[in-house]
């Protein structure tokens, strides 16, 4: 295979493997794990190569089937999309190692079905970050959504209901997006992002363009669960099979944020967004601040580990949306860095939860008593993830928060700064509540009665690696920002 279109293999290998998983998995379930891990390992390594290539030789675009843009489908490889490619494939790889164990326990006999959807979802996410075509983006958005609907519906009990709610909300989001694209098409006659961006400044009818932007943003906000459009997320992610949550929680919202950045700065321009409509950006930052505070408060009310984490995800979405709309360099850097960091820390926490659920059956707070003694390794990693969420140096979460707060101070959006600090404090309360429950004992119980019962090694290994990664990425955030994220920022930042 030639290296010039390596990124196509990153897309194609998970997609094709999905069918083999289904076919061979029917013959014997033993085929599932090696196929999934093989495909994702390949995707991870290949995407790392792609990132290296982009950093060395600069961005390039690729036309599928040699149809020239603006008519053909174009893929865009710039530092931002290459970074996302690496993030998605690596997170998916680690999530799948643990998910294989968890699915074997929760959905015995259905591994091949689960992982077929799982791989198509990953392929869809990878495609989303690569595409440079507004309509193609819609199709891929729906591919990821449909597979997620299916994955969630595989859960027990109320999961199908949660899935149906998500279908309704997700479809509204996708339709809004499509509607916005429709407006843009009416205005410009094109669907290629670069082409639209080139034509837009020349068309009159700002109202129509603004309407298009509004529809697209609301559509994406529903998909990323931006408060108060978050209603579907907590149920969907907490009732889904643990393996599905493992993949969806770290990646889905983050990819939607990425899409928002793409659409905002590659379709429209920062001039149009911030200079011509300063009130809008102020309003969005306010909305983000309110989102952060409200979601944090809602998280406080939860009595289950998974549900609590889902509300934290909603709060984190507010971090990033706010950071992007601060309209300054620090905020943008912080938001993009936070996409990476938040994916990693959510992965770490969900891997820990997967291990806990594997042993205890659920993550209800009442069951967690004395868990530090029973699962010390899992909880050590969980604690690192928790520190990162709270924002304690040198874990990764601290540094993106640093940029975000700095951006807030520079932009004079003190409400956003206060919301971030508030949410850090609430996260501290949330996680120390769990640490306290896990560290202390039931009243009257004696010390040292529990014996160790850790999850299988294959669930612990990715967990530990992700915990270490949080510290490594934190300490390496200087080089990460300097050599990748600075290049990935939209023009003008």
């Amino acid at each position: 295979m030639s290296t010039s279109n390596l990124h196509m293999y990153v897309l194609a290998v998970p997609l094709l493997t999905a069918f083999f998983v289904n076919l061979l998995g029917r013959i014997s379930r033993r085929w599932v794990a090696p196929l999934v891990l093989g495909a994702l390992t390949f995707a991870s390594l290949a995407s790392l190569c792609v990132l290296g290539k982009v950093l060395r030789h600069g961005s390039f675009s690729y036309t599928v089937g040699n149809w020239q843009p603006p008519y053909g489908i174009e893929l865009l490889l710039d530092p931002l999309s290459a970074l996302m490619l690496v993030l998605i494939s690596v997170v998916a790889l680690f999530a799948s190692i643990s998910a294989i164990q968890s699915v074997r326990q929760e959905l015995p006999g259905q591994e091949h079905l689960f992982f077929t959807l799982y791989l198509i979802l990953i392929a869809g996410l990878l495609g989303l970050v690569l595409t440079a075509d507004a309509f193609n983006l819609y199709v891929l958005l729906e591919i990821t959504s449909i597979t997620t609907y299916g994955l969630i519906a595989m859960g027990k009990g109320r999961a199908p209901l949660a899935s149906f709610n998500y279908i309704i909300m997700g479809s509204i989001g996708a339709c809004f997006y499509l509607l916005g694209v429709g407006y843009l098409y009416l205005m410009t006659g094109s669907l290629n992002m670069a082409d639209i961006a080139g034509i837009l400044p020349t068309v009159d009818g700002t109202a129509a363009v603004a309407t298009a932007l509004a529809f697209i943003l609301v559509g994406l906000w529903i998909k990323m669960a931006f408060f108060p459009l978050h209603g579907w997320l907590p149920n969907a992610y907490s009732l889904a099979p643990t393996g599905a949550g493992l993949l969806a929680a770290p990646l889905m919202t983050k990819v939607s944020i990425y899409l928002m950045v793409r659409v905002m700065f590659w379709l429209f321009s920062s001039d149009f967004l911030f200079l011509q409509n300063p009130l809008v950006s102020t309003l969005v930052v306010w909305a983000a601040a309110i989102a952060i505070v409200s979601a944090s408060c809602l998280a406080l009310a939860q009595r289950d580990l998974k549900r609590m984490l889902t509300y934290i995800i909603v709060a984190e979405v507010g971090y990033m949306v706010g950071g992007i709309w601060l309209a300054n360099s620090a905020g943008m850097t912080g938001a993009i860095l936070h996409i990476v960091n938040d994916a990693l820390m959510t992965l770490c926490l969900f891997l820990a939860v997967a291990a806990i659920v594997y042993k205890l059956g659920s993550g209800e707070f009442d069951k967690l008593q004395g868990i530090y003694r029973r699962m010390p390794v899992t909880m050590a990693a969980f604690t690192v993830g928790a520190f990162s969420m709270i924002g304690i140096p040198p874990t990764a979460g601290f540094f993106s928060k640093w940029y975000l707060i700095q951006g807030g101070i520079e932009a004079g959006h003190w409400q956003y700064v206060i919301a971030l600090l508030f949410s850090s404090l609430v996260n501290a309360v949330l996680f120390f509540r769990i640490i306290e429950i896990g560290y202390f004992f039931k009243d009257g119980e004696q010390h040292g009665h529990e014996k160790k019962e850790e999850a299988p090694l294959l669930m612990q290994a990715p967990l530990l690696i992700s915990a270490v990664a949080l510290i490594v990425v934190g300490l390496g955030s200087g080089p990460l920002v300097e050599s990748i994220i600075k290049l990935a920022l939209p023009a003008g930042f």
């Binding site: 109320r158 199908p160 279908i167 669907l191």
Partner: protein, 129 residues
């Protein structure tokens, strides 16, 4: 008033899709029956498909597929033929919409097996017990 009417009549296709969309949106949000919600979703999607399709229409424009030789006799003249691209795109959109409907119906089946009803109120009542 006359101007307003003129506006509605001139762009009646857009107004139609707005009305359709609102009906669909109302059904998705307001109805308590899950199948009705799903039908609302379909109406909603159809409205958007109609928007795209009607965007390709030109008055007096011909279709460059039927009577291909007749229409394209003098080469491609953009003012004489309807824009085929939105129609092609909407084929994909229809496929997407059908798949979503399919998944949703499958999920509804599971819900029905679990709770014996598709009325949201009754399901919530059963969950409450």
């Amino acid at each position: 008033m006359e101007q307003f009417l003129a506006l509605i009549i001139a762009k009646y296709n857009y107004w139609l899709y707005v009305v359709l969309m609102m009906i669909g949106f109302y059904a998705m949000i307001g109805k308590r029956n899950l199948v009705k919600k799903l039908i609302g979703m379909n109406i909603f999607q159809t409205a958007i498909i109609l928007l795209f399709v009607s965007a390709g229409v030109k008055h007096g424009g011909k279709i460059p597929i039927l009577d291909k030789y007749e229409v394209l006799k003098h080469g491609v003249d953009a003012t004489q033929i309807v824009n085929p691209l939105p129609h092609v795109l909407m084929l994909t959109a229809i496929v997407v919409s059908v798949s979503v409907t399919g998944v949703a119906l499958a999920v509804l089946l599971r819900i029905y097996r679990e709770y014996g009803t598709l009325e949201e109120d009754e399901i919530l009542e059963k969950l409450g017990k």
